[in-house]
Symmetry: C2
Subunit: 210 residues, 2 copies
Amino acid sequence: MSSSGLAPSNLAPFELAPWRSPLSRALHRNRAQPFCRFLQLATLRSDGWPANRTVVFRGFRAETNQLMFICDRRSEKIDQIQQNPKAEACWYFTKTREQFRLRGQLIAITADTSTAILIETRRQLWQKISDKAQLQFVWPQPKAIRTEKSDFSPPPPDAQTPPDTFCALLLVPEAVDYLSLRGEPQDRIIYYLSGKKTAESSWAYQTVNP
Amino acid sequence: MSSSGLAPSNLAPFELAPWRSPLSRALHRNRAQPFCRFLQLATLRSDGWPANRTVVFRGFRAETNQLMFICDRRSEKIDQIQQNPKAEACWYFTKTREQFRLRGQLIAITADTSTAILIETRRQLWQKISDKAQLQFVWPQPKAIRTEKSDFSPPPPDAQTPPDTFCALLLVPEAVDYLSLRGEPQDRIIYYLSGKKTAESSWAYQTVNP
């Protein structure tokens, strides 16, 4: 991953991708349901199987079209991503009956990340989550054989500085497939990067059959 | 795929896998939300990218632990599955805050399928769906450049006999990861096949850290 992918403003002024507008509208119209920020993220396991799990959308990284998530360094997806960053997120909005499929590469921001702007992104995400959410990052090893209940009441981590177990994930979309089930027939739009992959301003789109 | 995978009753009396009980309970407790039957299915594209989309659960195939879905022969996932049947479904229940990750191989039942019991499964699934859902299988080519609205009002297909575009999908789970966010800490159970993959009666499970 070249640094230009992380700082598109060096290439061109940042422009909102055209799929941001229908996505913002969907988030707004479904806002009464807290789970409207839950989506399913598919990645590739090293054994050749796909993996798929629910993640929570934590907003867009400032001045980019990159979706932010958080996860535990000890979870399998960090190793999966570092071997193969290809992913597709599927985001279904139950109230408005809209689906966004966002395909792109994932970037893991760990304690080892040395890019200043990403270190700051990780720190901000850590400070935004609740005390209860922070505590999970000092819980015992995920997916290990179940340990004692008392192990889940450790001293809380530093509220300002993320522990090594705390990671941020960025999804950098390259193609977005939007489907609205409310149309008669349903509406479907394919958004894609028509130029260089790192030039975020070159999005195009095509209205297609559902 | 050997035929034994399709007719486990030849091997041993059918037994409900142990994850069927929490899944049935989740379906029952979330039944007020029609979208509780929607889940996200991750597969592999031939170009090495994961694909992820929402599908509708159509019940279990009788006397098996196989989940049934329907899809259009012209959709990309049929070709994906025939090249590589590996899949992981992620099923999140919003009311009870439970997630099931079901990993297994997919079997596509198309117009070319010659196994009598599967031909019957496909026919039954066709007859169960609404007239409106049936009509979509004679609509113009999915994902082609958008055609005229009048193209979406074709003569309805035969209500009894599925058209060639109608496919059924079976997901044959080999491992299930169950997570309940309501526990303090959350509850997590990994279910897996401990013996031969085709012996559906050999499920084991382990309680693990969330």
